[in-house]
């Protein structure tokens, strides 16, 4: 299943890629694949912006705008004028939405 087209904020710089393969190892949707000893994007629309690739690329070749992605959190963020947040305090308490 794929979500909306052309919205993912994934950025990839081939020049910085050293072929370490971490992005392929961590991506849950096969967005990256190794080709000619470098990573290549297969389909940007498969990206769910989880951020695992950007966090694990030590060479700065990948960037993505990842954050809490659930509707309730984004609405909460809009209402409180802050970044999207679930409102639950991370102790597993208080989360009124089911996304925690």
């Amino acid at each position: 299943m794929k979500y909306l087209a052309n919205v993912a904020t994934l950025e990839y710089d081939l020049e910085k890629c050293t072929g370490c393969g971490r992005c392929v190892e961590v991506c849950p949707h096969g967005v990256f694949v190794m080709e000619d000893k470098r990573a290549r994007i297969t389909d940007r629309d498969r990206c769910m912006e989880c951020g695992a690739c950007a966090l694990n690329c030590e060479y700065g070749a990948i960037g993505v705008d990842s954050g809490v992605g659930c509707a309730a959190a984004i609405i909460t963020g809009l209402l409180t004028g802050s970044e999207p947040t679930c409102g639950c305090d991370g102790d597993g308490n208080g989360g009124s939405s089911s996304c925690c």
Partner: protein
């Protein structure tokens, strides 16, 4: 010497004996009982003894067996708030009979996650390092940062993992990568992180293949069963957060007469709409998630809207509801409000899927929220018009 006083307080009735040869500032207590062992660990955590003196902390031995009670607990996790305090104590556990060469698997302290992992490891011998994710599963905790680099590094130190295993290799669940910076973990602990398969069931195959996984092992699935198990936690909040307010509002509206609030009028008038409210919740929180790939459009708001129109239309054919639809104002309000409600509820499901992303949800909300507000406002106006018409004012 405040540490020694605190130590004494924690140890209570355990006699403090200084073992020969340790030469540390604070005496190490001896113990042979489980309760004493717990106190010992707390005491050790509080003392400033040198690392080579400290024994590794192993919290217990576990197996692949899941009891009937645990299966019931797992079910309760899926349907309600039981999950909020279903935890295991963070730290190092032995699965089977691991030695210094055995693999180290890392998990979250949500007991469901821990149980899902260990039930797949039958026949293996491994260490399981449980991180303190505040009782949250791996993927969500990784997104929040609790299944994260700092916690892993702290837990490695606290459990003295480096004195338990000779190798310096960790296997992390792939979905934990969202919070784990493998390069930094290597720099600061010397341990090399391998991100194993997505599903625990593939761990034995991954190990057999020499820590290699197939693309299939690295891909998250979202099949019907996966979607179905999430629906209780969509239905539950919808019924607890929204429905009572909706029901109260509708009952009040139909009960409000010139003479005051009449209960008979309230119930008779409101019943069709209370039922339609349930239909909207089921449409958005159960049907849309379960039938997700079969409903047209990629947008969850549109999927929910379409499912809403169809189910609401079918519901209006039922005798208990059809009479209320004879009034044009009520019929218009029905087809405006309930599909929109179903759409909004379906949009909430984006928080539970494995493939929607923040940017897409933001776009949906940017378009959807004004429309939802508009639909709600218009429905309210139509209802008020109905009311005024009923009172002969209009």
């Amino acid at each position: 010497m405040e540490n020694a006083a605190a130590l004494r307080e924690v140890l209570g009735d355990i006699t403090i004996i200084k073992p020969a040869g340790t030469g540390t500032k604070f005496p190490l207590p001896l113990t042979g009982e489980a309760r004493g062992a717990r106190k010992l660990q707390t005491a050790l955590a509080m003392t400033s003894i040198t690392e080579k003196d400290a024994p590794p902390k192993i919290l217990g031995a576990v197996s692949a067996d899941i009891s009937r009670t645990e299966r019931w607990e797992h079910f309760k996790c899926r349907v309600g708030g039981f999950r909020n305090s279903y935890i295991v104590e963070p730290g190092l556990y032995a699965f089977g009979e691991p030695d210094a060469n055995a693999a180290v698997l890392v998990s979250a302290n949500y007991k469901l996650s821990f149980d899902y992992l260990r039930q797949e490891l039958r026949g293996l011998n491994a260490w399981i390092l449980v991180l303190d994710t505040k009782g949250i599963n791996v993927w969500c905790a990784a997104g929040k940062g609790t299944f994260g680099t700092e916690e892993l590094i702290a837990r490695i130190g606290a459990s003295k993992l480096y004195s338990v295993v000779k190798h310096r290799r960790l296997m992390l669940p792939q979905l934990g990568a969202v919070g784990m910076n493998a390069a930094e973990i290597r720099r600061r602990t010397g341990f090399r992180v391998s991100f194993g398969p997505v599903r625990a069931a593939d761990v034995p195959a991954y190990i057999s293949a020499g820590y290699k996984k197939t693309p299939g092992m690295a891909t998250v699935r979202f099949g019907m069963r996966d979607r179905l198990v999430l629906t209780p936690m969509e239905l539950n909040p919808a019924m607890k957060k929204y429905y009572p307010w909706f029901a109260a509002g509708v009952l009040l509206l139909f009960g409000l007469q010139r003479e005051g609030i009449l209960f008979a009028d309230a119930w008779n008038g409101a019943l069709p709409f209370l039922l339609l409210g349930l239909v909207a919740v089921i449409s958005g929180a159960l049907l849309t998630p379960v039938l997700l790939p079969y409903i047209p459009f990629r947008s969850f708001a549109l999927k929910g809207l379409l499912a809403g129109f169809i189910t609401v239309f079918l519901a209006t054919l039922l005798p208990v509801i059809s009479d209320s639809q004879d009034d044009t104002l009520l019929r218009a309000a029905t087809f405006l409000f309930f599909p929109a409600a179903s759409s909004y509820i379906a949009l909430q499901f984006t928080g539970s899927t494995t493939y929607t992303g923040m940017s897409g949800v933001k776009r949906e909300l940017r378009i959807g929220v004004p429309l939802y507000i508009l639909a709600a406002a218009l429905s309210l106006l139509l209802l008020l018009a109905y009311k005024l018409d009923e009172w002969g004012v209009l």
